[in-house]
Amino acid sequence: MPLSSQAEAGDEQYVLIASLDNVRNISNILKAIQFKDHATFLATSNGIKVTVEDSKCLQANAFIQADIFQEFIIKEDSVMFRVNMTVLLDCLSIFGSSAVPGMTTALRMCYSGYGFPLTLFLEEGGVVTVCKIKTQEPEETLDFDFCSTNVVNKVILQSDSLREAFSELDMTSEVMQITMSPDKPFFRLSTFGNSGSTHCDYPKDSDMMEIFQCTQTQTNRYKISLLKPSTKALALSCKVSVRTDNRGFLSLQYMIRNDDGQICFVEYYCCPDEEMAEEEP
């Protein structure tokens, strides 16, 4: 039996062990960045950062801090591997993905190092599932060099308000234009679709606006296809921070509260659409 043989071998073989009482606390966060098949995991003593990228233009990071886990042991400075995200999420939800009151799936995630599979032990109601997911060569993740000192404009909103705006935006539009400015219209989302243009404005003194720090007027366009995956994170989040830097790069940070009331962050970086950038002087 694989279980007993694992127990005999003990935990010495693992370079990373992370245990969690409620698997939903991690599976929900991972779902927020699941838009490509593969994800790169980087574990350090602070926790685990999971990165998913698309077309070298979009990067999503989920941060799962070490204190989210009931047990978090790491024996090297950093541990990095790549796994198939779809497979991982199927494994994590092996006992069902809907929340059943009083029933939680416990998770113990172990990794022995380069070349070894990622081993998951899941337990619910006395039933144990062991998953061994093949790991792949980790790929270098993009460095968007998004530095807070270069941030030009920043707003923090309640997610509800942005969810509403996103659901009303015309998704037939190829791009979404974001205008941030210290003057009117302050914060504007625009689309240009088949049935016309839509603009959605947020006044800076709106109840939904928690922080408004815009220093100069900036208008940038982003591909809707790249922003669309971020709506998964938006749906789960309670607050969102929208920032742009001097190059027009967009950073969306989502604050997500899990079942146990702990806070996690998911971050999306997106390049501006080039055409627009060229028009700028």
Partner: protein, 256 residues
């Protein structure tokens, strides 16, 4: 299409997937007296007082759906344009005269010489007989495993342990159930049971198509009191769902 066999005491619903040669077959038995106040049957002769017919089960279930709050339901075998099962549903109404809704479901009668094709499926000798865990858990696990792989390996032993496993290039998953219990020898079809002298810890393994194995889970609708799984190594899985009024049997062939 499914076959309905009527006898004086029992009703049988049978499904045999002959076309695929060795497909899934199903056999369910209902005691007539648990369902009907009145029951009359006139078969071919006194000696063979039975009726075999073929019908589309969805027609039957659709017709019976209208009978949800009926005062009474009468089911008859009639001869209209073609042989039909006629379902007369008496529905309550505000006036003193109740409404009657009649459904005719075309059926095909099966002649006497073909009856032998519909005998209770022969049950092979089993290596292991075990109670299944709650079907909802099995369903959840299989739903995920099915996304990852089509072939399920089911292992069980006489020590109440059962494993569901899949293995692909990307991932291997195994779910372990313990303390399930093994039915006593008399129960179900354990007369065929031959695993009595083997080591209770040793696991018997069988491979099946996950989708075929999932089909029996539709049987959780009857909310069975007990679900028994019999395994004939490398041949088949035999599942019996037992309920007060109904018993359902599924025969799922193994993949070699």
């Amino acid at each position: 299409m499914c076959t309905l066999r009527l006898t004086k005491e029992k009703l049988f619903f049978m499904l045999t997937d002959k076309v695929a040669n060795g497909g899934v077959s199903m056999w369910s038995e209902l005691l007539q007296e648990n369902f009907f106040d009145e029951f009359q049957i006139e078969g071919i002769s006194l000696e063979y007082n039975e009726i075999y017919l073929e019908l589309a089960p969805e027609n039957l279930s659709r017709a019976l759906k209208t009978a949800h709050n009926a005062k009474s339901v009468k089911i008859k075998l009639t001869k209209k344009h073609c042989p039909c099962i006629t379902i007369a549903v008496e529905l309550p109404s505000l006036s003193s005269i109740s409404r009657v809704v009649t459904h005719d479901i075309p059926v095909e009668l099966i002649s006497r010489r073909l009856w032998n094709d519909f005998r209770e499926p022969s049950v092979p000798d089993f290596d292991v007989s075990i109670y299944l865990p709650p079907l909802k858990t099995v369903k959840n696990v299989l739903d995920r495993m099915r996304n990852l792989c089509h072939v399920l390996v089911l292992e069980a032993n006489m020590n109440g342990e059962m494993n569901l496993k899949i293995d692909t290039d990307l991932v291997s998953v195994s779910t372990h159930f313990r303390d399930l219990g093994n039915p006593p020898f008399r129960e179900g079809t354990s007369r065929h049971f031959q695993g009595q002298d083997q080591d209770p810890e040793s696991l018997t393994e069988v491979k099946v198509d996950i989708r075929k194995f999932q089909q029996f889970l539709a049987g959780q609708q009857v909310n069975p009191d007990k679900a028994i799984c019999n395994i004939a190594s490398k041949r088949m899985i035999h599942i019996i769902l037992l309920h007060e009024d109904v018993s359902l049997q599924y025969f799922i062939p193994a993949i070699l």
